[in-house]
């Protein structure tokens, strides 16, 4: 073969390889239509609407009792394994604790590559050295790291493509979030609300790592909202943004929630509403400009982060088609907002024992109950500091038109104390402690989001740290803090199957399919478990 022949044949071979083994390029168009390829799991919440719902139905109410482990993957750390894996054309991509990541053959669980970004000694992440997962675009994966970098990895090898520092980890900035890809950009939100950071949401160009925009969740001097912070308190105001937002391509808006103001328990140090803490933000995806905001808990004193997944739903509301945003908030209310303008449409308690607010008034502000604020001696307030729910994902099923939420039934005693800010130190304004003689518990609950009515409940022995997945098989999957992973009838809540995984579940499940076989994946402890029905593809 002479050189000219090689030149002619090689591009043809390249063409064949590019086209044949299943489109390994994750285009923006594929992410837009992610729910049309349920064999894959292309984004953190399964789709831009963040339903964490799949149309796969091979595993269903009639056969879920037969589920068994197909394979398991042991990562290197025990504890809080919070990743939501992505599955792209037969490969599963996950992140672990301590800046670890991996790619696995999704059929066998065999590792293809492993990655770890060295963790500096002084990294602070309040609630574990965790990471919640990758985002993918093209042939690149994007991971936001504990030391506040964003890294791009080659999908096939795990090789580093680019690496940018978003902030200085020595000032307690950290990332735990799974990024969100929108068009040509990678969106991330920072953590550090326990250390007095100034929160932000960043967008980076996927190809270069160059920052496209930054939105500070605590407005600086001269910016609207700055007046809601007393004195210099804005500089250490918190309002982190550590859970993945949702995106509406028609509005070109990113919906991204924010966490508590700092110091969380001692409001006297930060008088005012403290915008944009504990809020939902609607940002222009191209520019990062704020379109609207809604603050769920103005001047939050109880660590009621709003860092719960916003679920987007185009549906009629009181006879009129609206772009609805559903949000089960840590403060105990299930909100329905209009995604176009942030108008409050409804706020119903999904945690019956609320003691901090009577209701959400027609002006959109909570009617705060007297005597609920933290004191030096401590005040019992419900929900507790970890919230009625938390970062773990809810699910929305279009089959049942129900929203599934894991709920923690617990209260706490909140104390406060003045605290000086020290760079790199906890900045909480005191602590919360468990209420003596009150045993907390948890539940998986199904709600009609239009009325707020609870349709069913399955009781957990302990408050949960894991979210759920709904499927067209009429099922909801969820894991509990006592180490059980379970399948429920999405209509009735009947518990159809469970397996003890040996460690608390700190994540939300996903599903995918290969060779006509449906799989369910959930991390627990240090292990990623993958389940399927026995035998081959039983169609």
């Amino acid at each position: 073969m002479n050189h000219s022949t090689v030149r002619m044949v090689l591009p043809l071979l390249g063409l064949v390889f590019c086209v044949m083994p299943g489109r390994s390029q994750v285009s923006y168009d594929r992410i837009l239509k992610a729910s049309e390829e349920p064999q894959n799991w292309l984004t953190y919440s399964g789709s831009y609407k963040s339903w964490r719902y799949s149309t796969l139905d091979q595993i269903n109410v009639s056969n879920a009792r037969n589920l068994g482990v197909q394979w398991a993957f042991q990562s290197a750390s025990l504890g809080q394994f919070e990743t939501t894996p992505l599955v792209i054309d037969g490969v599963l991509y996950g992140t672990g604790q301590d800046n670890r990541a991996f790619a696995l053959d999704a059929r066998t669980g065999r590792p293809i590559w492993r990655y770890q970004r060295r963790l500096p000694d002084k990294v602070q992440a309040c609630c574990g050295m965790v990471n919640r997962g990758f985002a993918a675009l093209g042939e690149t994966l994007f991971m936001a790291t504990l030391d506040a970098h964003v890294v791009a990895l080659d999908m096939k090898t795990g090789n580093l493509v680019w690496d940018v520092a978003a902030a200085d980890y020595r000032e307690s900035y950290a990332f735990t979030v799974a990024p969100l890809v929108v068009k040509d950009k990678i969106i991330v939100g920072v953590a550090g609300g326990e250390y007095g950071v100034r929160g932000f949401i960043d967008a980076y160009y996927a190809d270069s790592g160059k920052r496209a925009w930054r939105f500070y969740t605590v407005p600086g001097p001269g910016e609207p909202g700055h007046e809601t912070w007393e004195g210099d308190s804005w500089k250490t105001g918190g309002a982190p943004a550590w859970i993945t937002g949702s995106y509406d391509p028609e509005l070109n808006l990113i919906f991204w929630p924010t966490g508590n103001p700092s110091p969380s328990n001692n409001g006297a140090q930060r008088k005012g509403d403290n915008l944009y803490s504990s809020s939902m933000l609607a940002l222009d995806a191209d520019t990062g400009k704020l379109k609207w905001h809604y603050q769920f808990t103005p001047h939050d004193l109880h660590d009621y982060d709003a860092t719960q997944i916003p679920v987007l739903l185009d549906a009629p509301w009181q006879g009129q088609m609206r772009k609805l945003l559903l949000h089960a908030n840590r403060n105990g209310f299930l909100y329905v907002l209009d995604g176009t303008n942030g108008e409050l449409l409804s706020a119903k308690p999904f945690f019956p024992r609320l003691t901090w607010a009577k209701e959400i008034g027609s002006d959109g502000r909570p009617v705060v109950l007297p005597g609920s604020e933290p004191t030096a001696e401590g005040t019992r307030t419900c929900p507790g500091a970890l919230g009625a729910t938390n970062w773990f994902s809810p699910s929305y099923s279009p089959q049942t038109e129900l929203l599934y939420v894991a709920v923690a039934e617990e209260c706490d005693v909140f104390t406060n104390a003045p605290q000086k800010y020290h760079e790199g130190h906890d900045f909480l304004g005191s602590v919360y402690v468990a209420v003596p003689r009150e045993k907390p518990w948890g539940a998986l609950r199904a709600f009609d989001p239009f009325t707020g009515e609870q349709k069913w409940e399955f009781r957990y022995f302990s408050p949960p740290n894991g979210g759920c997945l709904a499927t067209a098989g009429g099922l909801v999957f969820a894991g509990d803090s006592d180490g059980n992973f379970a399948a429920f009838d999405a209509r009735t809540g009947e518990n159809l199957w469970h397996l003890q995984l040996g460690a608390a579940v700190y994540s939300s499940p996903i599903t995918y399919s290969l060779d006509g076989k449906q799989y369910i994946a959930i991390p627990a402890g240090g292990t990623l478990f993958v389940f399927a029905l026995p035998g081959g593809a039983a169609k």
């Binding site: 609630c127 326990e194 401590g378 790199g424 468990a434 803090s481 003890q500």
Partner: protein, 304 residues
Amino acid sequence: MSSACLCIGEAVKVILMDTSHNPSSRRFTSRLVISISVIFFANSLASALGQEKEVQNPLTGDPAAIKEGASLFRANCSPCHGLNASGGGRGPDLRTGDWVHGGSDAAIFRTINDGVPGTEMPANPFEDSEIWALVAFLRSVSSGAKTPVSGDAARGERLYWGKSNCAQCHMVKGRGGRLGPDLTRVGAARSVAYLIESIREPSKDLSLGMTDPNNHYVYPLEYETVTAVLADGQRIVGVAKNEDAYSLQLLGQDQELHLFLKKDLREVLHERRSLMPAYTEAVLSDADLRDLLAYLTGFRGEQK
């Protein structure tokens, strides 16, 4: 069952705050390593010279420092040691003047800064001045010397193993029953006031059970009374070693493990009370109580 057992509970049940269970070594600053090295150096120099002098807290008795120390304590230490340093689910009472890991200013500084290997006390990334403020605060709430117990320990020992029946449910260095908490270290870990409360009113505050090293957010089980009602109506009463939505691992009053699937049970009842009977004055006179306390406060485990 007429078991007479003694349950030592905790004054404040605490779930660790998000921030409190970080592997603190990560936050250990090199500056503190240097400063503590200086202290060690000073100590070894002092001992080399045959002197007893150790580093003293420059802030002892300083009202502003005590106030700052109180705030620091509430924010950082109270999750384990209780809101008023009176002891919690994981940490001992710090008011007794009885410093298990050394009671000099330098030793307390070192305990706070370095933590205590082999226990749940972590290293802490405070500034030196903050540690001294904490020491000043602790001195202000501590009685300054081990509380003397006036009773007769030898007589207390006879009560413990005899008439008062404590050993039926509580193990000390491998001897005794297993239904209640092990008391091998209780004299070092709890205040006398707390021991009295636990004897007179055992249900007032329940002891914590097993913790899960992989899950800092889950509440440990407590020594509450759990009753498994079997399908045939038979009741087995005991303490839950563990429980979830599907199963129950019960240590019965017969001191045997009973392992149930909840689907096989008619009901599981939880009562927020201890299985230990209250040792009121009618059962245990004040004089007997003093003798028993004199014996219990000697339960110091292997620690000095």
